[in-house]
Subunit: 396 residues, 2 copies
């Protein structure tokens, strides 16, 4: 099964409804390739995105939603790749915290991904074959610059807000650092300011699992139509453990057996947690490209907002006019509350305005994707108060 | 390279020195096969073990050391498989906490392992080929019963102490539950009373990594001499992360680069943590059998001391005369302090005698294998006080 979108499907989904929004793919960088942090350039490249709501007259109501590692731009409505509903319908929609009756919401598939934006599974115009490992290694900064190119193309200069969780939160902070004048508010959820040794370690396990699969063929599997599904499934399983908390796993699965009264003394999935993890692995490979997984995890590992500032994160945010909202979850051990606190302390040191909420929730890192009234209330209040402040400024 | 011991090497190492001790392999269960928890039986089977010190006249000074998942009986001296020193020389030896000048120390390679005791890489007498997946699935209880058989064979009825960390600690507790009259003291370090959902999840990732390796060949790789090294290395890497703490990884590796000044924008090991993990994986495959890894992780997942007692751990220890010492490490997130506390509370509820120490150390689960003066002091004091109590009892 192909995991990436073909162009026809994208065009079909252009029809606009309140729920389905408007989807498009545009080609950018034909004349002016995008410079990358590696020193290489890419262009032309395609960018897939989706929008909901109405752009107001002064274009002051744009909210950019940034997606996570294995996410895509299908925030709401039907995801044509999986057939499932969008990944953040609790957060984005009519009457939701990111209210599409009020804001014009855009989500852009990141560079290097596989849901429509150019990535290693895309055709390399120089060879007529998939890029594979000829795709340049990218960074979170590169992803953000590609998004900025699309917004330029759409004539959108300023963002009322940028919001995202996990890798989405990394992009949020990168936006605020790299384009401080374009970002009025920034909402960074369940994220960090740099990948830790443990974060890198888990990603390296995933990459090694993919590369250990003989079908990976040094990244050229698309030439042979035998993708490294087994390795990619193992990578997903390992990562998935880090998305859940120990207590969440215990309360949801414990040592419950799967469709049996006693252990079978074999290597089938005796326990529910085994069956659940296997399902996570198997269902992932149908929707995601193994090389994209290598590239995006690499971008996350390279992420370190303090790197260009002698390790002082506050220097990255110096004199920022952006108003920040930082949210963490008590049970998130992937990007911990302590890491969010460091972001908040650094914003304070940089004299930036920041709200912070550490939300009590036992579902681990994935809490940001789940129904979480506390998170919704914080985001709703933060955005509403700033929207009212902006309305006040614009009054004569 | 063969990862398991051949018999000649074992015989060679029989020569006894204070450091090298005495090693032997005995065949058991010829007439009376060992009944297993699965309902199957195994016999004959070989058991490899090693001893240090001198057995006293009334055989009251025996300390059984139980090894962890990938451990073996080479506690001290040169390990003939790896060429390295034994795995617990800080704990066991002349003048050490488990003092071989005072105690007669035995360590037995567990059933299912690959350092001399029968496991899936051993020859199946019924077929003349390696067992592979025809080896019966075993439990921690089976491992302990096999050890008891060896002690019977050696004429050792009672153990002055049983000590072990991690899976070794599971055996310690299992010994106390299954053979309460044979165990005077039990020292369970960095361990648990049952494998949690998260514990099972990490093991399942490792097993899936092995089984995803085409060379695994449904466990029959020894017939083809192409072991699933890539999959086993990934399994080891994933597990190794759980043996270290986040703070320990940060202080030891952080985001330090490996032999370079800046990231290389590729998929080589840019970061020290990546290089370290890859080394852990690669060096592991030369000393350990992939099927043994499947079987022993399975035994650990099946481990639940409360299972036969309506989930009430205290019932498993009811009226135990054994004196217990439970040690945990503050930074161990694999088998947490909270799990040790549950063991201690259950022992209290069972009116058993128990000492407990939660040791401040930032090296994570592997702390028990490292130089840790606090742990050494607790073990030394616990054993000495009981030895003195026993001397007092034996005086006329």
């Amino acid at each position: 099964m192909l995991f990436f979108m073909n162009h026809e499907t994208q065009q079909e989904s252009k029809k606009e409804t309140a729920d389905e929004g408007f989807a498009d793919v545009v080609t950018l960088g034909q004349n002016q390739p995008l410079p990358l942090d590696s020193g290489k350039k890419i262009g032309p490249f395609e960018v897939a995105y989706k929008c909901w709501g109405r752009l107001n007259a002064d274009k002051s109501n744009v909210v950019l939603v940034c997606h996570a590692l294995t996410g895509d731009h299908y925030v709401r409505g039907t995801n044509p790749i999986t057939g499932k509903r969008g990944w953040w319908e609790t957060m984005v929609g009519p009457g939701k915290p990111v209210d599409t009756d009020r804001y014009y919401v855009i989500c852009i598939n990141v560079l290097g991904s596989c849901a429509g934006t150019t990535g290693p599974a895309s055709l390399n115009p120089d060879t007529g074959k998939a890029y594979g490992l000829d795709f340049p290694v990218i960074t979170i900064g590169d992803m953000v610059r590609a998004q900025a190119r699309l917004l330029d193309h759409l004539g959108i200069d300023k963002l009322f807000s940028v919001i995202g969780g996990s890798m989405g939160g990394m992009q949020v902070l990168q936006w605020a650092v790299d384009f401080p004048d374009r970002v009025r508010t920034a909402i960074a959820i369940a994220t960090t300011w740099r990948h830790s040794a443990q974060n890198i370690a888990f990603h390296e396990v995933g990459r090694q699992a993919i590369m250990a699969d003989a079908n990976w063929a040094h990244g050229r599997y698309l030439d042979h139509d035998e993708p490294p599904h087994a390795g990619l499934a193992v990578a997903r399983m390992a990562a998935h453990i880090t998305y859940m908390s120990e207590s969440g796993l215990t309360s949801r699965f414990g040592r419950n057996l799967q469709d049996r009264d006693k252990v079978a003394f074999g290597f089938d999935a005796d326990f529910q947690i085994e069956s659940y993890l296997r399902h996570q692995g198997i269902s992932f490979v149908d929707r995601f490209d193994a090389n994209s997984y290598l590239y995006i995890t690499r971008a996350m590992d390279y992420y370190d907002l303090a790197a260009g500032h002698d390790g002082i994160l506050a220097s990255a945010f110096k004199e920022s006019k952006t108003r920040f909202c930082v949210l963490s979850f008590t049970s998130d051990w992937l990007y911990t509350t302590e890491e969010s606190r460091h972001i908040v302390r650094s914003l304070n040191a940089a004299r930036a305005r920041v709200s912070f909420a550490d939300i009590e929730m036992d579902k681990g890192h994935d809490s940001f994707l789940l129904d979480c009234p506390d998170m919704d209330a914080v985001v709703r209040g933060f955005l509403s108060s700033e929207a009212e402040a902006m309305d006040g400024e614009n009054k004569p």
